[in-house]
C-alpha cells in the first residue's frame, strides 16, 4: 500500500505502547522459552509434595502436563480433520444469512484511535 499513512506508535494509549514489546523481533521466542522453563519447573514440582489424586494415575509425575499437551494436540488435529469435512463458503446458506452480510454501520461507532 503505497499511500498508507506512516504510523506513530506514540499516539497509542500508554498500555498499548508498553505491550508493543511482544512484537519486537525475538520476543515471541523469548516468551516460548520462558513458558517452557515454567512447564519444566511445574513438572519437577510434582516431586516436592505428596499428591492425593482420586485416581492412582494422577500420582504419576507431570501427569496433568503430559495430558494437557496431548489433549491440546488432539484438539488441533481433530479440528483440522473436521474442517476438511465441513468447511463451506460464507455464502453457503445465502440468501438471508448474517455470515455473508455486513453489520449495519449505523449501529456501530467505527472510530480510529487518532480521530478527534
Amino acid at each position: 500500500m503505497a499511500n498508507k499513512k506512516k504510523e506513530n506508535p506514540e499516539s497509542f494509549p500508554w498500555l498499548g505502547r508498553k505491550l508493543l514489546w511482544v512484537d519486537k523481533p525475538g520476543s515471541p521466542l523469548k516468551l516460548v522459552w520462558i513458558l517452557a522453563i515454567v512447564c519444566i519447573l511445574l513438572g519437577l514440582a510434582d516431586f516436592t509434595y505428596n499428591k492425593y489424586g482420586h485416581f492412582s494415575f494422577e500420582n504419576v509425575p507431570a501427569f496433568y502436563g503430559i495430558f494437557g499437551f496431548i489433549a491440546f494436540s488432539c484438539v488441533i488435529f481433530g479440528a483440522k480433520a473436521l474442517r476438511f469435512l465441513i468447511k463451506r463458503p460464507e455464502n453457503f446458506y445465502s440468501p438471508n444469512v448474517v455470515d455473508a452480510e455486513e453489520y449495519p454501520p449505523e449501529e456501530l461507532e467505527k472510530v480510529s484511535h487518532d480521530d478527534a
Partner: protein, 566 residues
C-alpha cells in the same frame, strides 16, 4: 386481583419496562435500565425461603414465587447479568432492545422463582418471545431469518413443555415443579423441552446460529439467561438423572472441535458456551450436594466470564465492524484495556488459579472423580484443555495479537470499559475469594480449591497445553483463520429437510400431473366418441329423420289408447 405477599422480582422488570417507555430517551432511560436490576436484586436478597404469591387461575393454583437457595443464587446472578449487560448497552437508544432486555431478564427470573410448572411454562415462553427481538433488532434480512429459526425452536421447546405438563397433570394431578424421574412420556417431554433450551447435543445449533446474529449488546444479554435457565430447570427437575452425566460429558467435548475452526468469534464463544454448559449438566447428573453446588457456582461464574468475553468481542465489533478472526489481529495497540479484560475472561473460562472458573469447575470435576466416573472425568479434563484452545487462546490471541490486521480502532467507549472492568473484577474476586460465592450455594459443603495438588495440576494442564499451542503455531500446523463457515446440525433443517421436502413435492406434483393427465385424456376420448356417434354428424343422428319421430309418436299414442280403454 392478586395481592402479592412478596412482590415478585420478575414484576420489577415488567413494571420497569413500562416505566422505561414513559422515560425520555437518553441517559435517564439508560440509568433506569440499571436501577431496575438493582431493585430486583435487593428484593430477592431480602426474601425468606418459602412459597409466596399463590394465585387462582382457571381452577388451578399458581405459585409465582418459590424462594430457596437454588432459586436465589440463579435469581441473583440473573440480576447481576442484567445490570452489567445494560451498563454495556448504555449507548443503545433503541427502545425495542431496551424493553426486550428487561422483559427477557424478568421472564428468566420469573421462571427461576416459579413454584409450579404452569408458571414455569408462561415465563419459559416469555424468555423466547422477548429474546428474539434482540436478534431482530439488528434489522437485516439475515437477522430476520435467523430470528425466525430461533423463535420456532424456542417456542417449540415451550410447546413440548406444555404437552409434558398436561400429561403429568393427568397422571399425578399435581403441577408442582419438583424433582421428577424419567420414565413416563410426560417426564420425557419435559426433559426434552429443558434439553432443547440447554442445547443438548444435536439440539444445540439454535445457539450457534442465533447468538452471532444478534446486536452487539444483544448477544451479551442473550448469553446469560436462556441456557442457564435450562440448567436451573434441570437442577430443579432432574437432579441425579444419570443420563445427564453422559449428555453433559458429550456437550463438553464436541463443541471444542467446532470452536477451533470457527471464524466468527461470537460463534466461537457460542460453542464455548455450549461446552461450559456441559460441565453444569454433568453436575446435575451426578446429583450430589457437592456436584449441584458445582453446577450452581459454575453457572454463576460462567455467566460473568462469558458475558465478559462477549463484551470484549462486542466492543471490537462495535469499533471495527467485524468479529471475524480472519479480519482481526494486533488490536492490543489501540484497545489495550479491552485486551486486558478479554484476557481476564479468557483466564477465567480456562480456569487458571486465582480466576473464577478455577474455584467453580473443580467442584464438578472433583464430584465426578469422587463418584468414580473415570471416562467422564477424562472427557471433562480433555475438554478443559480444549476450552483453553478456543476461549483461552484463540479469542484473545487472534483478536488482539497474532498477525497485524492494520486496524487501529479507538479504545471501547467508557461505559463498555466500565462494564468490562466491573465484570473482570468480579471474575478475579470470585477466583481469589470464593467463600462469599460458596456461602450462597444451595448446600453447605466445605470445599478448598487451593490445594498444592490442585493448583499445580491445573497449571500443568493449562501451561503444557499452551506450550503445545506455541509448538503447533511455530511449526505451522495450527489451522489458520479463514473466511468460511462450518456445517453443523442446523444443516439438517436448513438444507437437508428443505431439499427432501422439495424432492417429495416434485414427486407428488409429477404423480398428480400424470394422474390428472390420464383421466383428462380418458374423459376427452369419451367426449370425442360420443360426439362422433351422437353429434350432429354422428351415425345415430343420421338415422333420426322427422318421419320416424312422427311414426313413433303415433305408436306411443296408440299404446296409450290401448292401455286406457282395453
Amino acid at each position: 386481583m392478586m395481592m402479592p405477599d412478596q412482590f415478585p422480582p420478575a414484576f420489577v422488570f415488567f413494571v420497569g419496562a413500562i416505566a422505561l417507555l414513559l422515560a425520555p430517551q437518553g441517559h435517564a432511560r439508560s440509568a433506569l435500565t440499571l436501577i431496575i436490576p438493582i431493585i430486583a436484586a435487593s428484593i430477592l436478597w431480602n426474601m425468606e425461603p418459602g412459597i409466596y404469591d399463590r394465585v387462582e387461575f382457571l381452577g388451578i393454583t399458581l405459585e409465582l414465587t418459590r424462594v430457596d437457595k437454588l432459586s436465589t443464587v440463579f435469581g441473583l446472578i440473573f440480576c447481576l447479568a442484567a445490570f452489567l449487560g445494560n451498563l454495556f448497552a448504555w449507548h443503545v437508544k433503541d427502545t425495542i432492545q431496551q424493553v426486550a432486555a428487561l422483559l427477557y431478564a424478568g421472564s428468566a427470573i420469573g421462571a427461576v422463582f416459579a413454584g409450579d410448572l404452569v408458571t414455569l411454562f408462561i415465563y419459559w415462553e416469555g424468555t423466547a418471545i422477548a429474546s428474539v427481538f434482540l436478534i431482530w433488532a439488528r434489522r437485516t434480512e439475515g437477522a430476520y431469518h435467523t430470528g425466525l429459526r430461533y423463535l420456532i425452536i424456542q417456542i417449540g421447546s415451550g410447546v413440548i413443555l406444555l404437552a409434558g405438563i398436561v400429561l403429568l397433570y393427568r397422571e399425578t394431578g399435581s403441577l408442582a415443579f419438583e424433582k421428577m424421574t424419567l420414565g413416563t412420556l410426560a417426564t420425557w417431554l419435559i426433559f426434552l423441552a429443558f434439553g432443547i433450551k440447554c442445547a443438548f447435543p444435536l439440539l444445540h445449533n439454535w445457539l450457534q446460529d442465533s447468538y452471532p446474529a444478534a446486536t452487539v449488546t444483544g448477544t451479551v444479554i442473550l448469553s446469560a439467561f436462556t441456557t442457564k435457565l435450562a440448567v436451573y430447570a434441570l437442577a430443579r427437575g432432574f437432579p441425579g438423572t444419570e443420563l445427564l452425566i453422559y449428555i453433559g460429558a458429550v456437550m463438553t467435548v464436541f463443541p471444542v472441535f467446532f470452536a477451533e475452526i470457527e471464524n466468527d468469534l461470537r460463534r466461537v464463544l457460542a460453542y464455548s458456551l455450549n461446552n461450559q454448559l456441559g460441565f453444569m449438566v454433568v453436575g446435575v447428573g451426578i446429583g450430589t450436594e457437592m456436584s449441584l453446588n458445582g453446577t450452581a457456582s459454575h453457572a454463576f461464574a460462567h455467566i460473568l466470564y462469558k458475558a465478559l468475553l462477549f463484551m470484549s468481542v462486542g466492543a471490537v465489533l462495535f469499533r471495527t465492524g467485524t468479529s471475524k478472526a480472519s479480519e482481526l489481529g494486533g488490536l492490543y495497540r489501540t484497545m489495550p484495556l479491552t485486551t486486558v479484560f478479554c484476557l481476564v475472561g479468557a483466564a477465567s473460562i480456562s480456569a487458571f488459579p486465582l480466576f473464577s472458573g478455577f474455584v467453580t469447575k473443580s467442584l464438578v470435576l472433583d464430584a465426578t472423580a469422587e463418584n468414580h466416573y473415570l471416562i467422564v472425568w477424562f472427557m471433562l479434563v480433555f475438554a478443559s484443555a480444549g476450552v483453553l484452545s478456543h476461549s483461552g487462546i484463540k479469542i484473545p490471541f487472534f483478536t488482539f495479537f497474532a498477525h497485524d490486521s492494520g486496524k487501529r480502532p479507538k479504545e471501547a467507549p467508557t461505559h463498555m470499559l466500565l462494564a468490562m472492568g466491573a465484570t473482570a473484577f468480579l471474575c478475579i474476586f470470585i477466583g481469589v475469594f470464593p467463600e462469599p460465592l460458596y456461602s450462597i450455594l444451595p448446600y453447605d459443603v466445605e470445599y478448598h480449591p487451593y490445594t498444592t495438588s490442585h493448583v499445580v495440576g491445573q497449571l500443568q494442564l493449562l501451561l503444557f497445553a499452551l506450550l503445545a499451542f506455541c509448538f503447533l503455531m511455530r511449526t505451522g500446523i495450527h489451522p489458520p483463520e479463514i473466511r468460511a463457515i462450518n456445517l453443523d446440525s442446523d444443516w439438517i433443517y436448513r438444507r437437508l429437510l428443505p431439499s427432501w421436502i422439495s424432492a417429495i413435492s416434485v414427486a407428488i406434483n409429477a404423480i398428480w400431473s400424470k394422474n390428472l393427465g390420464f383421466w383428462t385424456r380418458k374423459v376427452d376420448a369419451l367426449i370425442v366418441r360420443l360426439h362422433k356417434s351422437h353429434g350432429p354428424e354422428g351415425r345415430i343422428a343420421q338415422v333420426w329423420p322427422t318421419g320416424s319421430m312422427v311414426l313413433w309418436i303415433a305408436v306411443l299414442l296408440g299404446a296409450t289408447l290401448l292401455v286406457n280403454f282395453v
